[in-house]
């Protein structure tokens, strides 16, 4: 449900002119809800940025999110961590 919630708020932000990137945990939900820019991560629920206190991994996720802002639209764009 969390993934749908953030994606719906992200859609509102895009409508108001703010660029967004949404982490996504399940492909089936990402493809059903369709956030404008989604990054699928290979982590379990409760661990969206990877591991506690692993700043290197958390930065890798954030940089992949930032990289998605370079992709031309229109959306939805869905990438996986590692391929993003």
């Amino acid at each position: 449900m969390c993934t749908q919630t953030v994606s719906l708020v992200a859609a509102e932000a895009e409508r108001q002119g703010i660029t967004t990137v949404c982490l996504q945990l399940l492909r089936v939900i990402a493809e059903s809800v369709r956030p404008p820019r989604g990054l699928l991560v290979p982590f379990p629920h409760g661990y969206p940025l990877g591991r506690p206190h692993d700043a290197t991994l958390q930065h890798r996720v954030l940089r992949a999110m930032l990289a998605l802002t370079n992709e031309p639209g229109p959306g939805p764009i869905l990438r996986e961590l590692g391929s993003a």
Binding site: R15, T19, P36, P44, P52, H53, R63
Partner: protein, 160 residues
């Protein structure tokens, strides 16, 4: 990625019958300046609140659609987590709230010049919202107004 099979049976049965709210058309706002000049905010759905804020209300049918504003100088260790879901392991983000609200990491990215700066205010939702009408019509627009007022260029959304 996460697997449906890791979720409790009750949750899987619910998800199998649930009709997701499809975003259509998909809105699109490209960045209008280089990342190194962008102001960045985080939106978390982990149900995080500060000690001086009311916790999210577990009794709202369809899920509490309200949000909390978390100033950038919020002490991550003070945040309380009131996400009602029993479908995931909460211990990781209690140990390190950066898993859901990576403010320390964003400040490091700003310090390195990768992004322009960290927005003064960030947003917290409680993600277990099954009835999305009020979220879409009322609380999401209000929440986004906060980001617009702060001249945020890019918002990063983190579900749990």
């Amino acid at each position: 990625m996460a697997e449906l099979s890791e979720l409790p049976l009750k949750t899987r049965l619910f998800l199998a019958a649930y009709r997701w709210r499809r975003i259509d058309p998909v809105p699109w706002s490209p960045l209008r300046k280089p990342l190194r000049e962008c102001r960045v905010a985080v939106v978390s759905s982990a149900g995080l609140t500060r000690p001086d804020q009311a916790p999210f209300d577990d009794d709202v049918r369809g899920g509490d659609p309200t949000y909390r504003i978390l100033p950038a100088d919020t002490e991550l260790g003070e945040l309380l987590e009131s996400h009602r879901s029993e479908s995931f392991d909460h211990s990781g983000l209690r140990e390190d709230p950066n898993l859901a609200l990576p403010l320390d990491r964003l400040k490091e990215l700003a310090g390195a010049g990768t992004i322009g700066d960290v927005a003064p205010r960030h947003l917290s939702f409680m993600g277990s919202i099954t009835a999305t009408g009020r979220l879409v019509k009322e609380t999401a627009p209000g929440a986004v107004n906060t980001l617009v007022a702060d001249q945020v260029d890019l918002a990063l959304f983190v579900p749990v």
